[in-house]
Symmetry: C2
Subunit: 454 residues, 2 copies
Amino acid sequence: MSARVLVIDDIIQNVKLLEAKLQNEYFDVITALSGKDALKILETDLPDIILLDVMMPEMDGFEVCRRIKSNPRTTHIPVIMVTALDQTSKRVEGLEAGADDFLSKPIKDLPLFARVRSLVRLKMLMDELRMREVTVENLKTIEVVKFPLKFNLAAQSTNILLIESSSSSAQRLSSYMDDFAKVDISDGNITDFNLCRYDLIMISLSLPDIDGLRLCSQIKNCEETRHTPLIVLVDEDENDKMVQAMEIGVMDYLVRPVDKNELIARVKSQIRQKMYAESLRENMKRNMEMAITDSVTGLYNRYFLNNYLKNLLCPTNEDRDSVSIIMMDIDFFKKVNDTYGHMAGDEVLVEFAKRIIRNIRTIDLAVRYGGEEFIIIIPKSDATFVKLVAERIRARIEKIPFKISNHSVPIAITVSIGVSLSADKYMDGTSLMGSADEALYQAKETGRNKVCGL
Amino acid sequence: MSARVLVIDDIIQNVKLLEAKLQNEYFDVITALSGKDALKILETDLPDIILLDVMMPEMDGFEVCRRIKSNPRTTHIPVIMVTALDQTSKRVEGLEAGADDFLSKPIKDLPLFARVRSLVRLKMLMDELRMREVTVENLKTIEVVKFPLKFNLAAQSTNILLIESSSSSAQRLSSYMDDFAKVDISDGNITDFNLCRYDLIMISLSLPDIDGLRLCSQIKNCEETRHTPLIVLVDEDENDKMVQAMEIGVMDYLVRPVDKNELIARVKSQIRQKMYAESLRENMKRNMEMAITDSVTGLYNRYFLNNYLKNLLCPTNEDRDSVSIIMMDIDFFKKVNDTYGHMAGDEVLVEFAKRIIRNIRTIDLAVRYGGEEFIIIIPKSDATFVKLVAERIRARIEKIPFKISNHSVPIAITVSIGVSLSADKYMDGTSLMGSADEALYQAKETGRNKVCGL
């Protein structure tokens, strides 16, 4: 995948070299010779990925990274930090500054392209999820999911699976992670492990009798573990395997002998990225639910009803002539609000919704249509059935008065109900709803607390 | 990227061969020997991509494809149709059945892997957008964006840019697309073209003086054209260029001499995929907007207000002590509903919202809080300014009576208003809102149609 790369380094020869390498692979490159310049560029230009040197005068790479990651506009851009080979301890520092990945000087082509491509691929996915953030931002606010700059992993809640046949190596690697994770060890046979409970899986590619790459591919292709970050362990001469692993979708690799600081930085970085992706997905899901739910009662809202009804009554649905609608309006509801206040009114609405839910099937859909008006959509029903349901709800509302806070005597509530059937040839939503509405009006006009329309 | 591939072919040797090839590249393979078997498998298993033979007894590949694409559960899975080499006319038929891509028998490795990887990459992106569909489906409905099985491209609304230096070739290729698109031709200099208006860009990789791959990468890395499908034209011996193009993110390629049917099928397929992706993005955007908007007035809703206020008053916001709140409640609104009906009530709310919007700045946020209650959040303001705004709104509501349909005499409306300032040390949303609410109560109690709180 091509991408726009920002290279930041105070030594112009380094910048030129990286620029040439990346351009040769058809990346689009922009450059900056200081942290200050880079932050200036980022005010107007948003690259897909940033290569950032640590050692720079004035503002060092850590500080630049911190600023990039704490700015809502740039928090999502992956940063690869470039450190000297003998400074692996710097990596943990880089991680705390928000770095997503690390490269050692002198930069070799293979790790460079593998890491850049892997991060770009992840960013493309996240950009689709972030779209919503951007949308909202344009509309007004800055409700952005922030990249978790500070995150504390606790050994009791972080689970890592290490698949490694050499038990001495497994013990050593596991001990590196003791501080922040509980590590389970497998020698390659994973049948007894519940893979979806792990925050990260580390796989040796030197397992006897087992093709580690095949294992990676299986984990990637399983719905439950698709988003679990994988790190592979390779020997120094196994560049081909490393490249192939990254192509399969493995997120990172470690070269043996494994350096402790490097392992910690890479493992933590992967887990943090997973957390960030999960936050984005959760955020979107929550917002989607908000879009279709009534906030007072938790029932579906009018917007959802319209879409749902359209689907249910569409000509290709074979069951479209067995759809019923129950339309309900709480009698004299304004009096509740006026006498007891809006809070009490809301309590009545919530209890009313609860009683509806308890009296319908899971395939039925309960909706707060607005104010004190509720609707139930009942697929696969006939006149007898829907009349039974409507009458039962009417009775359950009438029978037990509604308790409200700060008021010792429960309030008597009744409901008027109108029903309609698509079998009566009300084949589109509007006429089906209109018919139920007429029946409801009739119930109101002829004394309330009754079911009309059948 | 690894993926789960379903191979469908009635000839077991073909199946075995493809399975071996794909497994060797670490794809996860499932197989079916007939269309019926395949549809059965798809009831429980959802692969990432489907390789489908056309010529099969009983149910042919076209019919299988049609069924896959018209089923909401499987409509999003890319299908690569496998046809005999001399049957390029079958491709247009395959396209109409919903195929996303095409391969000729005997299947060569390079095109196979290039096409599978390209489609898998696209699907991964779309899966993030589809998440919402799946969520809603679990909750209840089937509000899925359908893959556009039937789509008619019109020459006046479909725009294609062909970048090709040989004018005879450009003319010929352009003529193939006359029926369904307006084709602009560039010899390689694109400075005069507005690239973001094209539905597809086709680029020759044999341009003199210009590196076609560099051009592809530039187009992919520009925000406006990031999602525009690219197809490259390569010579038969240019496999390396083709592979590199697909790696950059080019969606498809055509080998010279270009077959007319193949070109039509591939171009149309790419445009259809772009349409599908756009529908998914649009759908998500619309739903996101629904989540934060009041459906009657189009103002922001309570849910959005809470998030917005939290951001505005968060300790890191330097302007948090200059936030004002104007809380409004339309006087005697129930009377409007009772006298003129709910429809008229809604009309009043809509007009009320319009008058608010006309009297605030773009950085202010107008919210329907519920019922007849509205709120304006005014950042960067002081007591003098907010008093001015509140008083102006009060006057504008009182001055011109509200017109409603089916009623010749406009209705007189007034509003009671309470204001509060974060400068008065109401530093969190709850206390700021509480203070405005108290002021509003005071306005109501002391005669209505007035501003209190300052």
